[in-house]
């Protein structure tokens, strides 16, 4: 009897709690996706039903395709995210290498200076950023977003990469130096060795850039430079009453991210749990 009770609390209860929360976490996403494939009538009559042969409809997707500039928003988001990510990783890795490799005077101080940005949100400097960007004539350009996101992502990237680079055995670098390798060559040798850390950093800095609403809204709200997040926000605001279109655009904005997440989730979760952010 006691043993039975023990197995109950040990294995059944945890699964029950987790399953209940799983439903709470998944239900809203599921609801939006299933209803995006239904007729307007069915959306209101039976929101909880999955689409059937009679209620199936893609009219929402057609509206979104015709009315909103989603292909161009996607292209903008991809450009901004990929270029910023590339800059953050290469520039960040170089700085992290210098900080972890050379004990020059002022090294710890520079490390602290660069790490300040981890805790201080860059948004608080928005008034200054907007003034700077307009004086550079970069308002409504993707370049403005790329520069700001690079500055935003660097502190965490440098901090994490530096701690990984410090763990690389000294002998490796010394051996290369004895062979006459330049410092740039040694950096090139180290880079592949911290690949897992680079992948982790990539995921961590990429998500906030892709999802950001603040800087696109302030620095690049023009039709040509809109990102997906801003485009979706404005499209949804205008089409509130067209439920098919709203549900379809939500699904369109959500599904690519979810697919990418499912592909990379192992990498991401390993990154979190391996102490990269501790």
């Amino acid at each position: 009897m006691q043993k039975l009770q023990r197995t109950l609390t040990e294995s059944v209860v945890p699964h029950m709690v987790l399953l209940v929360y799983l439903v709470i976490a998944m239900f809203p996403l599921f609801l939006v996706i299933i209803n995006s494939f239904k007729t307007r009538k069915a959306i209101f009559a039976n929101p909880l039903m999955i689409p059937t042969a009679e209620t199936f409809s893609t009219e929402g997707y057609l509206t979104v395709w015709e009315r909103a500039g989603f292909p161009s928003y996607f292209a903008n988001s991809i450009t901004v995210t990929v270029v910023s990510l590339f800059l953050i990783l290469i520039v960040g890795a170089m700085a992290a290498f210098a900080l972890s490799e050379y004990p020059f005077p002022g090294n710890p101080l520079l490390g602290i200076y660069l790490a300040l940005g981890i805790m201080i949100p860059i948004r608080l400097g928005t008034v200054g950023i907007l003034r700077l960007i307009s004086s550079l004539g970069l308002v409504n350009t993707l370049t403005a977003l790329i520069l700001v996101y690079t500055a935003q992502g660097l502190p965490l990237a440098i901090f994490v990469l530096q701690s990984f680079m410090q763990r690389i055995p000294r002998e490796l670098k010394e051996a290369a130096r004895v062979d006459g390798a330049t410092e740039y060559r040694i950096f090139g040798l180290i880079l592949p060795l911290v690949r897992p850390a680079i992948a982790t950093v990539a995921v961590f800095v990429m998500i906030p850039i892709w999802n950001d609403l603040w800087f696109p809204l302030i620095l690049a709200p023009g039709e040509k430079t809109k990102t997906v997040t801003l485009g979706a926000q404005q499209f949804l605001g205008q089409f509130v009453s067209d439920w098919n279109a709203v549900l379809a655009s939500l699904s369109l904005a959500m599904i690519p991210v979810l697919i990418l997440y499912l592909i990379f989730s192992r990498q991401l979760i390993r990154g979190i749990t391996s102490g990269a952010v501790k």
Binding site: E10, S11, P14, H15, V17, L18, Y21, L22, I24, M26, P28, L29, L31, V32, I43, P47, L48, L87, V91, G92, M94, A95, A98, Y102, L110, L114, M119, I120, P121, I122, R123, L124, T126, V127, G128, I129, L130, R131, T150, A151, L154, P155, I158, T182, E183, Y184, N211, L213, L236, W243, L250, V257, L258, Y261, L262, I269, I272, T273, G275, K278
Partner: protein, 310 residues
């Protein structure tokens, strides 16, 4: 001998490579992050009309001028409420989920944590709209589901009422970001050595006792990290309120937090023109609040934990 060694030292070439490695990062970071922050702080001491230095006048206006102060204190109070709801709901549930996930005998942990972390990955804009639809009286999904358990009489348009809009938005945000404390606690719990826990079980301790007496004290550093991340995140929050309620954070400013107040102030909305100097002043106060939070964490929490560990 002496001479030759100093000679050798002088010959060591200037380490240009260090500068090459560091310069790009330092330049981009300084120009696009540190300089704007300092420029913004400077502006908070400048007059909106002349641009000249006026000391703490903008701060006085913000605190004392009725037009400004009512919005400022309102946003500050709401922001604290927003933060406390996260601390009381998000972090305990995150801890509970992490505690369950980290049990070694549990199966399907990979599936659970992947799916539970999913909402955290999505844009706040998407999440805001999804919940707006679910809670909408027009669609009636929330009402219909409450009717299934006989609670439909309790349904209200929560997002539209002055008293419930802010807690509702806070709970939506909790729902989305619960994955972060969950993952951080989960990582910390996995790091606890097996021997410690095994020994307690052998002594006949229950899972409950083991958790609170052994595991929880060991993950206290993570509790502090989660708290400070929640604090900084909440006092920098903007997207959700803006998406669901717009820049005016209605009804009647009841969902206005520092982020939306800051945005309205410097960027303007509808009939109100943007005011960079006052916006910079609001940003400076936000920076101060965040710095106080971080300092409290470093001095009050992290140091105590370290002495405790020693």
């Amino acid at each position: 001998m002496q001479v030759s060694s100093t000679y050798k030292k002088k010959r060591k070439p200037f380490p240009f490579h260090i500068i090459v490695f560091l310069a790009p990062a330092v330049i981009i970071y300084t120009i696009f992050m540190i300089y704007p922050l300092i420029d913004s702080l400077r502006l908070s001491f400048a007059s909106g009309e002349t641009g000249g230095y006026i000391g703490f006048e903008n701060y006085k206006t913000l605190f004392n001028n009725e037009l400004w102060s009512i919005r400022f204190w309102g946003a500050l109070k709401n922001n604290f409420e927003f933060f406390f709801i996260h601390m009381l709901v998000q972090n305990p549930i995150g801890l509970l989920l992490a505690a369950l996930l980290s049990r070694r005998t549990l199966r399907w942990t990979n599936t659970y944590r992947t799916l539970l972390f999913m909402p955290t990955m999505l844009s706040v804009v998407i999440i805001g709209f999804i919940w707006q639809l679910i809670l909408s009286p027009l669609w009636g999904v929330a009402e219909g589901m409450m009717a299934l358990v006989g609670l439909d009489a309790l349904f209200q348009p929560w997002l539209g009422l002055e008293t419930t809009a802010l807690p509702t938005l806070a709970l939506i945000s909790v729902w989305q970001f619960i994955g972060i404390p969950m993952m951080l606690f989960y990582a910390a719990l996995l790091g606890i050595p097996d021997e410690l826990v095994e020994a307690a079980y052998v002594d006949g301790a229950s899972a409950w006792t083991v958790f609170w007496r052994i595991k929880f004290p060991l993950i206290l550093p993570t509790v502090g990290i989660v708290a400070i991340l929640t604090f900084v995140g909440n006092f920098n929050s903007f997207d959700l309120i803006y998406t669901v309620k717009g820049a005016l954070a209605g009804p009647n400013f009841s969902t206005d937090i520092m982020g939306t107040f800051f945005f309205r102030t410097f960027f303007g909305q509808q009939l109100q023109l943007g005011n960079p100097e006052m916006g910079a002043t609001v940003a400076a106060i936000m920076l101060l609040i965040i710095l106080v939070g971080v300092l409290l964490y470093l001095v009050g929490w992290q140091r105590r934990i370290q002495t405790y560990e020693a």
